[in-house]
Every structure is written in structure tokens, then in C-alpha cells.
Amino acid sequence: MAQTLYDKLWQSHVVHQEDDGTALIYIDRHLVHEVTSPQAFEGLKLAGRKPWRVSSIVATADHNTPTDHWDKAEGTAAIDDPIARLQVDTLDANIRETGSLAYFPFKDLRQGIVHVVGPENGATLPGMTVVCGDSHTSTHGAFACMAHGIGTSEVEHVMATQCLVQKKSKAMLIRVEGALGKGVTAKDVALAIIGKIGTAGGNGYAIEFAGSAIRGLSMEGRMTLCNMAIEGGARMGFVAVDDTTIEYLRGRSFSPKGDAWDKAVACWRTLVSDEGARFDRVVELRGDQILPQVSWGTSPEMVVSIADNVPDPAKETDPVKREGMERALQYMGLNPNTPIKSIAIDKVFIGSCTNSRIEDLRAAAAVLKGRHVAASVKLALAVPGSGLVKQQAEKEGLDKIFVAAGFEWREPGCSMCLAMNADRLEPGERCASTSNRNFEGRQGPGGRTHLVSPQMAAAAAIAGHFADVRELNI
């Protein structure tokens, strides 16, 4: 019978299955960071259990590491916040005691956001199950992986057993046909999809992204898209293997070499949905009709295009939704029917596991080159996703473009995506952000987040308000 990619990924990882469909799923790669792992390591120790296979573990510190003044003190002494420092030190101690395939501690050249670090080192390979105590683990689905976030109890469970207890999800196909227009990116596709299906639209589903617009995306773009599958309610999203996947992986540190490479590629080529495979739900979008997107509310589904106005709750018939819109507008300090382009911003953040890869920085730099951030913008931050991304960007001179335009060029980390470190919005401040969540307080209590692509963030930085990147001459 014709199988979906999801069927294949699922089937190849079932260790044991109960009558009610509950299965033990084998985990190939376990990514670990400082915030969601300490309680798991502790639980393991308390129960006297040993980790099952430490060579599955790739670890780094990212969530609450600072992004500036790394050189002011040795090692983690450069972390001012004592509670954050304790967490990073705890990760250090845990990993050094347990062991791992790879560990990129604070300040290591290869340290960075866990979802940037895994793929760029070839630690994420097609056909793997990839888990991490972080919801944006869906990012790794770009490599045809079954990749999803887990809670801390599950982190402990994976460490102890190399397995997870799972039930198979339903399969959704999201097909985007037609080439994307100029200035339209994977981020815009992701936001347009969430705008269409809603933040709960993917609950209970695993999503496969397909169609010519998706095949046309680079691996960086596919990661951006799969990253946001979770914002559409799906634990995971993935893209089938093609030449783009394979070319990206060639020569990366943990990619197979020599004979093993050829064998692996042959195996990876099968990671596609068969002709005629059945999905539980199919959603279709036209890629050529997607415009640059800007979120206006406090949920990623509250999104419109740059050409639109802020929606009017009075036109919403569902009372719970209407109230949600009203509450969002109040929080965001916006009036209905305001043109998106007229909304002024205070800060700009280019970074996060959604948009901090080299391609994102190149795209933003192309907009910023020869231009300057508007005087009304208080802070514009560029935070590379990893030390390797930063190094590459500096080799290309992108850092100079950012700095000349008035951006701060920072050290890698999650930074103002979730504001666990010092990078954050003050109450009432409005930010054009390339991150993935615009929830209340996400970038700091009272902060107002608008989700956009890197190009659109750069365009907003220059204009001081949202602007259509397609109207700039680039």
C-alpha cells in the first residue's frame, strides 16, 4: 500500500506496540539544553538509572545565556544572573558526568540555539527521530525527520530508555504550489499557513509540507517553515528528502563519510510519500498569492499581509473569538482598521531558531546595505543562531553592514526570542521580530511582538514602521 512519509518514519521506529495503538518509539537523536534538562538528570540520578545511549545526546546552552560582554569574565562567570548561571553550570556538570556525542558549552565556537546547531553540524540526519525539551524541535523535520518537542519527564524517559511512549498522529498534507514572489520568504509561508489553519489547526496531526513552493526552498527556508509547525498546533512538520537535503548534508561534521555516505543517501532517497498515499487532511495554498506577512495580535494565527489593515473584531461572529481579538488589540495597543504600514515600532529583533541562519542574515543585510535604522527605533538587534553562523557572517562582512546600519551585532543564543536573558522589551514597547511567538509577555512583560521575516524586520527598522520590502529597491 502507498505510504506517506510519516507512515515510513513511524514504522521504522516502532519497538513495541500495545493493542490500543500505544507504541514505544526509538529515539535516534536527543538534543539537550540547560532549561528543561536539570530536573531530568536529577530524576535519573535519584532513581539510580543510567543513561541508555549517551552517543545520542547533543547538548548546548542557549536559552538564558547572555549575548553580549562574553569577554568580561572567564567561562560562565560572564553570566550576570546567578540563577541563569546556575542552570548553565548545572548543564555543564551533568553533561560532563554523563557524556554525549557532542557538547557545545557557553562560548564554544559551535555553541548556539540548539535547533541551529544540530543541523549545521550534521547531527540531524534524514530518517531520524529527533527530540528535545523544546517545542521548536519541529525545525528538524526539514530533514525528513520525525522531530518534536517533549516535556522534562520525557527527557528523563528518553535518557533512561532511548524510547518514548507515543501514539501515531493523523497525517496532514499542506501543499503550496506556485513560486513565491520577490520578497516573500519561508517565514511568510509559515505565517500564511497558520493564518489559514489556525493555531489549533494542526492539533493531533503530523504535517508534511509539499508542493513546488516548498521544493523551491533552501534547507534554511524549510527549517523556518517546520520550526513554525508547532505554532500551527502540530507537534511536528516535515519535508521529504530531495537533492537540496542531500547537498546540504554533504561534508558536515557528523554526516556519514565515504561508503557510508553513499549507503545513507540511497536510504534517504526513500524518505518521500509514495504516489497515491492517503492523508487525513489536505490543505492547499497558492505560493504566488502569499504576500509578506505581519502578525497583529497575541497569537501567530492573528496575522495579515503588509497590504492589509488591523482586523475589526466587530466583524467577527464567534463571541469567544471576538473577545479574544478585542483583548489582543488592547494588549497590542492597536485600533481596528489601522493600516499595518502605519504601525510604528520601537525595537527590532533579528534572530531565534526561526530566522537566525546565514541565509536569514544575508537577506536582512541585503535590505540594510547602504541604509540606516530610523532615528525613532531605540534598539535593533542582530543575533546569529550559532557561533558558526556568526563566523560565516563575519567572513562575508555582514556584521559590518548590520553595524553600519545601526544594529547591534551580538553573540549567539535565544536572546530576545523569549527574553530569559537581558535582551527584552519594556512594557508597551513594540517590536518587529523574526521569532515565532507573539504571546503576551513573550519578549518581556507588556512587550508587543509583531512576527515578520528577516527582510520585513530590516525594512521596518529602516522605515521606523512596518513597510513593504518589495517597494524598497533591492
Binding site: 519497538v15 490500543d20 541563569a84 524517559h157 511512549v165 489549533a200 492539533n203 497569537s299 523569549l418 530569559m420
Partner: protein
């Protein structure tokens, strides 16, 4: 993990869609390396007028100004064990600190129209029962809770029913495996390790077929 069999508890209504885990426990409290002590900061941004900091002692927290408009601050809902809410509860970050905070606050069951997947899973790992009911039932429950101070529901896990004070029983679904675990307070890891031989055999086969996965 504590067992969950039958619960008779006061219900608190949180009438919102898309309550995310950042709202349930704001990120600054994730810096803890413990599993407990999150209750005083559950729904921190909605519950208090100031911004809570991690590591505050009990007296400091008790002295913080509370938001009188936030529903869980109302005297009639103190001591609630059942949280009633709308669609997509627990969306966003995978932090297990969210169910830890709810549990520490006193909630043992959450009734919603739908849940985000990861949060849903995390609840079971901590002995919280997440219950999905149809929108019409949820609407009716909201109306009853509002109208009736001291409104209690009985949740009968073996019978898989939510029983209203008027005697109406509303059936709900729960996976057989998860139900067993809750009823017995079983630790997942111990259960899984019963299959250790199978895991080892699977791993060996995989290591031979796709050695690059084990580099």
C-alpha cells in the same frame, strides 16, 4: 506520581482560547532546577499587578499586589482543583513547568475543548487529568459555574465521566494505557524498561542497517 482515581473538586473558569504555557508559568521562573515551588507564580502576569521574580521568598510573594480582576483571585474560586477553559489550552512552549505550576497551585484536572499536544502529554506524566469535552458541554459548564458559587464537579476516571451536581454524567475519552498509569500512579520509565530486551534488539538491528545513525 500520585494516583488519580476519583476527584470531587471546586471548579474555576478561565474563559479564554489559546492559553499558552508562557501565561501558565512565565519564562523567568524556568530558571529553577527543581520541579516544585511553581504554584505561587502560576499565571503570574495575570495574577499580580507587578512583575514576579524568581527566587522570591514566601513573605515577599504574599505581599505582592494581586489583580482583583483575574478570575483565579476571586475568593469564590480559592481551593479549586478543576480548571475549566476553552480551546487549545497549553499551546506554545513545551515547558513541563506548566503542569508543575498547575499541580502546585492545586489543580488536578483541566477540562477544555482541546489541548495542545505536548502539554496534554505532560499532564499525564504528572498525574493531572486533561479532559476534552465538546464545545456545547463546555458552554453549559461555564454557565453553571458562573451561576453557582461553590460549584463542584466529580471526575470519575474508572467510569470516564464528568458528573455535574445535577447528576448529569458527561462521558470523556482517555487512552487505555494512560488511564492505567493514572489509576495506578505508575512511573512510565519503569514500565518501558520491562521491554529493555526488545529495545536492545531493535537498536542492534538499526546499528547494522544504518550505522551512520550511531556515529
Amino acid at each position: 506520581m500520585d494516583k488519580f482515581v476519583r476527584l470531587e473538586g471546586l471548579v474555576a473558569p478561565l474563559d479564554r482560547n489559546n492559553v499558552d504555557t508562557d501565561a501558565i508559568i512565565p519564562k523567568q521562573f524556568l530558571k529553577s532546577i527543581k520541579r516544585s515551588g511553581f504554584g505561587p507564580n502560576a499565571f503570574d502576569e495575570w495574577r499580580y499587578m507587578d512583575v514576579g521574580q524568581p527566587g522570591q521568598d514566601q513573605a515577599t510573594i504574599a505581599a505582592r499586589p494581586k489583580n482583583p480582576n483575574f478570575v483565579l483571585n476571586q475568593p469564590r474560586y480559592q481551593g479549586a482543583q478543576v480548571l475549566l477553559t476553552r480551546a487549545n489550552f497549553g499551546c506554545g512552549s513545551s515547558r513541563e513547568h506548566a503542569p508543575w505550576a498547575l499541580l502546585d497551585f492545586g489543580f488536578k484536572a483541566v477540562i477544555a475543548e482541546s489541548f495542545a499536544d505536548i502539554f496534554f502529554n505532560n499532564c499525564f506524566k504528572n498525574g493531572i487529568l486533561p479532559i476534552v469535552l465538546p464545545a456545547a458541554e463546555i458552554d453549559a459548564l461555564f454557565a453553571q459555574v458562573e451561576a453557582t458559587p461553590g460549584y463542584q464537579l466529580t471526575i470519575d476516571l474508572p467510569a470516564q465521566a464528568v458528573i455535574r451536581p445535577d447528576g448529569k454524567g458527561i462521558p470523556f475519552q482517555v487512552d487505555a494505557f494512560r488511564k492505567e498509569c493514572l489509576l495506578n500512579g505508575w512511573d512510565d520509565i519503569g514500565l518501558t524498561l520491562r521491554h529493555a530486551d526488545k529495545i536492545r534488539a531493535f537498536e542492534e538491528k538499526r546499528r547494522i542497517e544504518q550505522p551512520w545513525l550511531f556515529a
